[in-house]
Structures are given as structure tokens and as C-alpha cells.
């Protein structure tokens, strides 16, 4: 293998090389999740759209896909919310302000926000699913006049697992969003609603099914029950969106890991229309 020559240092970046990004802030969200704010060392904006993801690298440890959880309307930084589950994410949790990591992206196909302009939006998020849709939530709030009614439903397993608490407070008080949340298992201090996320549908005013775009992101089991609620309100399946998670290695449609039937989630997703997914048996089973 040593016969292979390295390219000169000044080169156009190849497909798999990450570019450096600096940690500008770290915030602990829960026992398992931290929020990181990054800026590319090149000074360029990442250039992402809501719903896209990046491959995050710690050189020498490895790489993993993480959704971008801030909106491009928020300036030249981007945020990633990382749950500690294994090798790479474990090391990410050791990062401090000033550290540098590698980024490839933005990757994948995010939300078609232009399609949503002029419409009402209903977002239903469960657990870590709030991270990928937070980029869309921020986008809608920053471009509020482009959208009609905006409903946001969020469910977590327990109060300790609620993500983005600062945001939750802001959203609850904001006239710009009709926000409701619930936890499956309340504790003594919990004063809010309890029960699974579908119970929050009782809080919704009647929605205009033909004018409402629905976004559902959460664990597969939640997905199914939420889709039932939405279809029961006669929202057409083409107006329902979701974001899939798969094992990913390349992020660019080569390595085959993310394939669900005949789609590559990294290329054609992670955001899909529910109508497109129905024919894909592996998509939501």
C-alpha cells in the first residue's frame, strides 16, 4: 500500500476528506445529549438547508452521520445535537470549546421549504427526532410571514429527556407557534401533560387538511401512530413528510449501508414524502 503516493497538499478536497470545523460552544442538554455549535475553519457558511445532515469525523476514531439542528437563517454557524451511544459519539462528548473536528456535508435531501411557503405546518417530533426538525422550526420562526398557522407537538419519554429546554420555553411563550409537549412518564415535579405524543392531537384546532404540510420525525413506532392521526384528519399522503435513519458510512450513495429497498436514504433522503415511502416495504417497518 505504501507505493501509493499522497496528492500534493494544495488539492481540491476529495469525496471522503472532511474539512475542519471549530467548536464555538458546548451545551449539555441531558445526561446523554450535548448541543455543539460549530463554525467551519474556512470561515465559509456550511450552506445547508433544514433537514440535511453532515458526516462528523474525529480523525483516528471514525465518522458518523448527525442531523444539522440549526437553521441556515441563524448565521454562519451550525449546531449538532449528539447523543452519546458509542465510539464516535462517545469521543464527541469529550469535545470542548476551541477543539476542531472534521465535517463532510451538508449531505442528503432536506425539507422542501419552498413547498411549504404559504401553507400551514404541523410538526410532530418524538425524542431525538426534535433535533433534525429544529432546523425547520427555527427556519419557520425566522421566516414567519411566509407560513400560515404553525403547530408543533413534541413528546419525550421523561422530563429528564427533554431536549432544547431553552427553546421549549421560548416556543411555549411565542405567539408564532402553537406548541404543545408531553412526556410518557412524568415525575413528581412535572406539571405538564403526560401520555404519548398522539394525545397532543386533542390540543389542535381543526386543521385545513389540503393546506397543511405535516412533518413527523421520531422513532418508527411513534411514526405509525402519528400517521394514523394525520390521515384520519384527511391530510393527503403527499403532504406528510418524515426523516429516516439508517446506518451510513459514505453519505453519498456509494457504500450501500443506508439502502431501504431501492432508495439510498443518504441521497434521496433522509427527508421523504410519506406517499413515496408507502411502496418501500423496508422504509418504516
Amino acid at each position: 500500500m505504501t507505493a501509493i503516493a499522497p496528492a500534493p497538499l494544495e488539492h481540491a478536497r476529495t469525496l471522503y476528506e472532511p474539512q475542519p470545523a471549530e467548536v464555538v460552544a458546548v451545551e449539555k442538554l441531558t445526561d446523554l445529549e450535548n448541543l455543539y455549535r460549530f463554525r467551519l475553519s474556512s470561515g465559509e457558511p456550511l450552506g445547508h438547508g433544514p433537514g440535511q445532515f453532515v458526516q462528523m469525523s474525529l480523525l483516528g476514531i471514525g465518522e458518523c452521520p448527525i442531523s444539522i439542528c440549526s437553521s441556515p437563517t441563524r448565521g454562519d454557524y451550525f449546531e449538532l445535537c449528539v447523543r452519546r451511544v458509542g465510539e464516535v459519539t462517545g469521543h464527541i462528548h469529550g469535545l470542548k470549546k476551541g477543539d476542531t473536528i472534521g465535517i463532510r456535508g451538508p449531505l442528503g435531501h432536506g425539507f422542501d421549504v419552498h413547498d411549504m411557503h404559504g401553507r400551514d405546518v404541523l410538526i410532530v417530533a418524538g425524542g431525538l427526532g426534535l433535533a433534525p426538525v429544529r432546523s425547520l422550526i427555527q427556519y419557520i420562526l425566522d421566516e414567519r410571514s411566509r407560513f400560515g398557522a404553525f403547530h408543533l407537538l413534541y413528546g419525550a419519554r421523561s422530563p429528564a429527556e427533554l431536549l432544547f429546554r431553552n427553546d421549549l420555553t421560548i416556543w411555549r411563550e411565542s405567539p408564532d407557534v402553537n406548541f404543545h409537549m408531553t412526556v410518557d412518564r412524568p415525575d413528581e415535579q412535572w406539571r405538564g401533560r403526560s401520555g404519548v405524543v398522539t394525545t397532543l392531537f386533542g390540543e389542535l384546532p381543526p386543521i385545513d387538511p389540503l393546506e397543511t404540510m405535516v412533518v413527523i420525525v421520531g422513532p418508527p413506532i411513534m411514526f405509525k401512530f402519528v400517521v394514523l392521526e394525520v390521515l384520519a384528519r384527511r391530510v393527503p399522503q403527499k403532504n406528510v413528510f418524515c426523516s429516516l435513519e439508517r446506518r451510513m458510512k459514505c453519505g453519498v450513495g456509494k457504500c450501500g449501508h443506508c439502502q431501504a429497498n431501492n432508495v439510498y436514504v443518504c441521497l434521496e433522503g433522509p427527508v421523504f414524502r410519506y406517499g413515496e415511502l408507502k411502496a418501500l416495504r423496508e422504509a418504516i417497518e
Binding site: L15, Y16, P20, L59, V85, T100, K254, C255, G256
Partner: protein, 350 residues
């Protein structure tokens, strides 16, 4: 129409000339079997090979390769890509494998260019050898329409006279690229084909058509539709009962291109390489995500995934079949799981 006629002796001389500027890789006999290996002299290559156990895929897409190296310093890092730009010639590739390379070319060049594959591909000169008969039992290249190749090579050699390994046996030559044309013309090698040569070529083709058996008793264009109807067939589970999920079928396949990546750290702990290595969809963890959820936990769902990829999805995505009918997967399988048999059993179900 042929472009040139050349004797085996002259071809061997030309390959030896090529070896002065390129690494030469071709079929080398090891006991009863053949493997693609680098050689110093053209004579070490056996152009009468039946088939190579592994395909030439590994020349373009090695089983393990370093993608880039990195250096960590002051909390940041620098990367340098590792591109293999060694001029190489691959001598003796059968049409099925040339068709497989065409698929890889496309997969690694569209939408996001894979510089590592493409650097090797740019530097690769391919001399194909056409097969006058089935190379071994069980191949179904005829059914997959890949027992002929019309592009994807620099030169293609058609063995027009039968007497095997003699020096004056004649190959009909077709140019696939300008590089192939120049290779012969600059060396002033080969003769213009005569009318008699063209007739011999026609006879060769007629004999070839008669020599190849069909093993799938329906038109392969109907395979995607057949698979479409067969998603819920019990055959997947019935067949997968024998499957060891060992991935040998993936590893031996000339069109499988899935991979994994991981990092290697040097002893200094400040530099290392990102590596990619072949992966296979038959291995249990292939579709496992964090939290342990596996999107294809049963051998049956993995087997179905592989066959769908080969028979339907790759064709639909790339416009090029995902299987070239070389039957390497069938031969590699200890459990004797056989793709032709699967196709035929599905067809019997209707």
C-alpha cells in the same frame, strides 16, 4: 467488423513492451484455478484461463484501501488523499467482468465522483479476451446478456483459430478506445482483416451463440417484474434456512461495491489513515444502527435484499444490470445457494 488481426506471439510481445511502462495484471494459474495477479513477463499470463476465482474488481476497488492520511496538530488536522495513479494494464478480462467494470465505472462517477476509484480507472488499460464457450458449468452470462461486451475495454481479442496456446493462433481485434487503437497502430502491429478473417469472425460468433446455454427460461428483462411480484414469497425464508450469512457471495461478486470505513491511528497517535474495506449485505450487522436496531435482522430479508439488488434495483438505478451471470456467488456458497435456482423457483411460483 474487426479492426485488426494479430497472432498470439505478437500480442505477447506487445504486452511485454507495455510492461516497461505499466504494471501488468492477468490470469495466473495456481493449480487448477486462476487468479488475477501482477506479473513481470507476459508469458506468466495464461490467456486460456477458464475463469478467475475473484474478479478483476480488486484492481480498481481493492478489498482494503487507504483513502487519505491525516495529521493532527494543535487541535486541528490536515488531510492528504491517497490516490493510486500507477499505470496498470489488465490483460485477459472476459466480457462478463468487463460489463461488471462498466457498472462500477458508473456507480463511482455519477452524482459524487469517487476520486480513488477514478484515479485507478484513468490509469487502467484493459485488454479483453472473448469467450468462445462457457468458461465453466453454471454460468448464466448468456441470460444476463453479458457474455458479450461492446465497450469498457481498450482492446478486445476474439480467438479466431482454435488450436489453443500456439504462437501463431490468430486473434481478431476490436478497438474499444483511442488508446487501444494507438497501442496497436504505434507498434505497427497486426494486420488488416481480410474477407476471410471477417468470415472466420462470423463463424466464431455463430459458434459462440450455439455454445452458450440458457439457464433462465424467461427473458431476463422480465426479472425486475418477477422480483416485484415475489417480495412476500416464502422462498426467501426457505432458501435462507441454509444461509450462513458469511458474505462469501458478496466478496466474490464482480459487481458488489458496498464498503465500510474506519480509521487507523499510527503509533505516534498524531497521524493515521482513513481506510475503506469491502462490506457485504449478507453480514448480520450491515444495516444495524445505533441503539442496536437492525433493519434486516433475518437472513431471509438479507438474501432477498441481495437478489433484489442484483436482479432489479441496480438495473433500475443505473440502467446497467447488477448481475453479469458469472455464477461466482453460486460457486462461493458453502450452502449451495444458487441465484439461477432462486430465479427459476420464483418464476415457477408465477
Amino acid at each position: 467488423m474487426l479492426d485488426r488481426i494479430i497472432t498470439r506471439g505478437r500480442l505477447v510481445e506487445l504486452v511485454d513492451e507495455l510492461a516497461r511502462t505499466r504494471r501488468i495484471i492477468g490470469p495466473v494459474r495456481r493449480g487448477e484455478r486462476f487468479f488475477y495477479e501482477p506479473v513481470a513477463k507476459a508469458r506468466e499470463i495464461d490467456l486460456e484461463f477458464n475463469y478467475c476465482v475473484y474478479s478483476p474488481k480488486k484492481v480498481l476497488f481493492p478489498a482494503r484501501e487507504e483513502l487519505f492520511m491525516f495529521e493532527r496538530n494543535n487541535g486541528s488536522f490536515r488531510t492528504k488523499p491517497l490516490l493510486d495513479e500507477r499505470p496498470t494494464a489488465l490483460i485477459g478480462v472476459h466480457p462478463c467482468d468487463i460489463n461488471a467494470i462498466r457498472l462500477l465505472d458508473q456507480v463511482f462517477s455519477h452524482s459524487h465522483r469517487d476520486d480513488h476509484y477514478l484515479a485507478r480507472r484513468r490509469q487502467l488499460f484493459i485488454i479483453g479476451v472473448d469467450c468462445p464457450a462457457e468458461c465453466t458449468a453454471g454460468v448464466f452470462c448468456e441470460d444476463m446478456k453479458s457474455n458479450e461486451a461492446n465497450e469498457g475495454f481498450d482492446l478486445m481479442c476474439y480467438p479466431l483459430s482454435a488450436n489453443g496456446a500456439s504462437e501463431d493462433m490468430r486473434y481478431g481485434i476490436k478497438f474499444g478506445t483511442d488508446a487501444g487503437r494507438e497501442f496497436l497502430l504505434y507498434a505497427q502491429a497486426g494486420d488488416r482483416p481480410t474477407v476471410e478473417d471477417e468470415r472466420a469472425f462470423e463463424r466464431y460468433r455463430a459458434q459462440k451463440r450455439a455454445a452458450f446455454q440458457r439457464r433462465i427460461p424467461f427473458d431476463v428483462d422480465g426479472l425486475p417484474a418477477l422480483l416485484d411480484r415475489s417480495y412476500d414469497s416464502l422462498l426467501w425464508e426457505a432458501t435462507a434456512r441454509r444461509c450462513y450469512s458469511c458474505g462469501s457471495c458478496n466478496l466474490s461478486c464482480p459487481t458488489c461495491f458496498c464498503f465500510n470505513t474506519f480509521d487507523k491511528l499510527d503509533l505516534t497517535l498524531s497521524s493515521g489513515q482513513r481506510v475503506r474495506e469491502w462490506d457485504g449485505c449478507q453480514l448480520r450487522e450491515f444495516a444495524t444502527v445505533a441503539g442496536g436496531h437492525n433493519f434486516r435482522p433475518q437472513a431471509a430479508s438479507r438474501l432477498r435484499h441481495r437478489i433484489y439488488r442484483k436482479g432489479k434495483w441496480i438495473l433500475e438505478r443505473e440502467g446497467i444490470p447488477g448481475c453479469v451471470g458469472c455464477a461466482r456467488c453460486d460457486r462461493a456458497c458453502t450452502a449451495k445457494i444458487n441465484s439461477v435456482e432462486i430465479y427459476n423457483q420464483l418464476a415457477e411460483e408465477g
